[in-house]
């Protein structure tokens, strides 16, 4: 496994609020796992824990077989050479007074195994720009001279500079126009095939995740509600929260009337409800069917779905049978 997470729990420093609550997941080398959920679901915190920006409260994180959660200097060194992250807002992650070329030279210089002569670095910058489809003339441009899509290409090129094997993609297309999003998603797929990269991708948009990922973990209030191969999760979603996320994505040929719209706010992680954290908004839960008090009294655990793939699991007492769901 390129990335293996076991029973990971995370709180932010100085706070007792459990933002990620005992999640486990695996991403094989060359695979793409999508973490999906709303703001506050803990998906970005998982990513931050993987790259060492926040220390786990408990649990383990292994990147390419090396435990990195403890944050030892050996672990951080291992992380720097294997793992890179791309963020949502490329305008904020690029230095405003650095040219594209300078930013890429800086990123390429951290590698121990390349000769650092001017010529070698120029070659490396050329290689990186070529990989992400930026014309060579852009080498002297500043971030403000680039469009949103071009900036994101620079951010991806910079992340590729240390030749990582695992790339964390945190809402990388959320700030872009849909037409630009398409070019970045296609680019990420091409890069993965060419460089045999492993992706941990994060988004609230399930249609984007379906296109990019081969397995999916749906998170809500810090825990995984549904996990499995993308074909299974999208083909026969078992958790009502997954269905609500699917229904929320604007799609052609669908009217607003034939889908579920969640109302109300997600639960507050500082004031965690008993039982299922989704129950206050759940369209099949106790709010709509008072007899379903199990959702209030007992927290549902992830359980493998019958008649689906062996790794397709759902955490719901009343999981849906959606094999013939028409999306």
């Amino acid at each position: 496994m390129m990335l293996s997470i076991r029973e990971l729990s995370v709180s932010y420093p100085g706070s007792d609020v459990v933002v990620v609550d005992g999640i486990s997941l695996d991403v094989p080398s060359g695979g793409t796992l999508g973490l999906v959920g709303e703001s506050g679901s803990g998906k970005s915190t998982v990513a931050r824990a993987v790259v060492g920006m926040v220390r786990p409260r408990s649990g383990t994180i292994e990147v390419d077989g090396v435990e990195v959660g403890a944050g030892s200097s050996a672990a951080m060194k291992h992380l720097r050479s294997t793992t890179q992250m791309v963020f949502q807002d490329p305008a904020a992650s690029l230095h405003p007074r650095m040219t594209v070329g300078a930013a890429l030279v800086e990123a390429a210089s951290v590698r121990a195994d390349v000769a650092h002569g001017q010529g070698d670095l120029a070659m490396e910058v050329h290689r990186l720009m070529d990989l992400v489809g930026l014309p060579e003339t852009f080498v002297d441009r500043y971030a403000f001279e680039l469009s949103g899509g071009q900036r994101q290409r620079v951010a991806i090129a910079r992340a590729l500079a240390p030749r990582p094997r695992l790339l964390i993609l945190d809402e990388v297309t959320a700030a872009l126009d849909v037409s630009i999003q398409a070019t970045i998603l296609n680019l990420l797929k091409e890069l993965q095939a060419e460089l045999h990269l492993t992706y941990l991708a994060i988004s609230h948009d399930l249609a984007v995740m379906r296109y990019l990922c081969d397995s999916i973990a749906v998170m809500e209030l810090g825990s995984i509600k549904e996990i499995g191969a993308a074909d299974e999760v999208f083909g026969s979603p078992g958790h009502p929260y997954t269905v609500a996320l699917l229904d929320a994505v604007p799609q052609f040929g669908r009217t607003r009337d034939d889908r579920t719209v969640l109302t109300g706010e997600p639960a507050d992680p500082a004031d965690r409800p008993s039982g299922c954290s989704f129950r206050a908004r759940c369209p099949v839960g106790p709010v709509f069917d008072a007899s379903r008090d199990r959702c209030v009294t007992t927290t549902p655990e992830l359980a493998v779905v019958d008649h689906s793939g062996p790794d397709h699991a759902v955490a719901c007492h009343f999981r849906l049978n959606t094999n013939d769901r028409d999306v």
Partner: protein, 324 residues
């Protein structure tokens, strides 16, 4: 024929003068009927936002606007001074922007800001305005409105703030709501909820809506009629229910193909549009989409296509696409 809520004809918006003048809206005409939802879709820089802002008399400083005709509920805005336009639009036109935090005053409670609308335009008392504000917050499904009305904007989540902005527009039911990328910064679930609120406002108060977005799938779900803008011009107008199958412009088709779909094969690549939109300081001959268009011929590069009727609207393209 009924009187339109809003009518603009041959709208031009530009910045600067002389050789460096940037022409960002070029000859746009639109007519919004009472109670309809019109979507304006296009990429960044297409002029969709400036068209909407020009209609609302909210162009930024430095922008020059001309129009052959500009009316709102029968009032001739083109012939009115700025000071006269305020009372015509005030209370009848509501605007919701992408970032609600920058449109709300952080130092005043949400209720006080909402109350301004009816206090200024209808002379309501503070107490009556607060009651109206609570009622409107309830309508846009803000939970516990009696408590929320006295909170400050920073105490609201992103989706709640956007709903508060819509509630502010509802204080006196408006004839027209202009929503410019109202959900772009929000989660898809919150987006769906905010769109449901806008649709309800339209249904219950007969408020006409102009919805501006880069997401053509979102527009298709909510709007009845869609205007597609490219490089400052409307290039296609099409009934929303025909958008996916019977839109004709090559650009419209490319925008549709760029949306990731839940019902397409997962390994089918998304449609991308090579190149970039033209610089607004240039004034090219021919169709402005031609340099990026796979179907373009020499005619497209030399003559600008005029609108022709299509079976679900009208289109400015020499090589309209067949049914999808």
């Amino acid at each position: 024929m009924t009187e339109p809520v809003l009518e603009l004809s041959n709208l031009e918006v530009s910045f600067g003068r002389g050789l460096r003048a940037a022409s960002v809206v070029r000859g746009v005409s639109l007519r919004i009927e009472p109670g309809e939802i019109v979507g304006i879709v296009g990429e960044s820089g297409s002029g969709k936002t400036l068209t909407a802002m020009a209609a609302a008399d909210l162009l930024p400083v430095g922008a020059e606007m001309t129009a052959d005709r500009w009316t709102f509920e029968g009032h001739d805005l083109a012939a009115s001074a700025r000071s006269e336009r305020g009372p015509i639009l005030g209370g009848r036109l509501a605007v919701v922007f992408q970032d609600p935090m920058s449109s709300l005053n952080p130092a005043r409670t949400v209720g006080a800001q909402m109350g301004d609308v009816v206090r200024v335009h209808h002379g309501q008392s503070k107490r009556a305005a607060r009651t109206t504000a609570i009622d409107r917050l309830r309508q846009v499904r803000v939970t516990a409105p009696e408590r929320r009305v006295d909170e400050y904007p920073h105490e609201f989540s992103g989706g709640m703030r956007q709903r508060a902005m819509i509630a502010m527009g509802l204080m006196t039911p408006p004839a027209l709501l202009i929503a410019d990328e109202p959900t772009t910064a929000l989660d898809v679930t919150v987006q769906a909820d905010v769109m449901a609120v806008i649709a309800e406002l339209n249904r219950e108060h007969g408020t006409a809506v102009i919805l501006v977005s880069h997401n053509i799938a979102l527009i298709a779900e909510v709007a009845t009629r869609v205007l597609v803008m490219y490089a400052g011009r409307i290039v296609e107008e099409v009934a929303a229910d025909s958008l996916a199958t019977r839109s004709r412009h090559q650009y419209t088709r490319a925008l549709i193909g760029s949306v990731p779909r839940l019902d397409a094969p997962r390994d089918q690549p998304l449609v991308t549009i090579g190149g970039a939109p033209p610089d607004p300081t240039t004034r090219a001959e021919g169709c402005s989409f031609a340099p990026r268009c796979a179907a373009a011929t020499s005619e497209c590069r030399s003559v600008r296509p005029e609108f022709v009727e299509s079976d679900a609207g009208r289109v400015a393209c020499f090589h309209p696409a067949a049914d999808a």
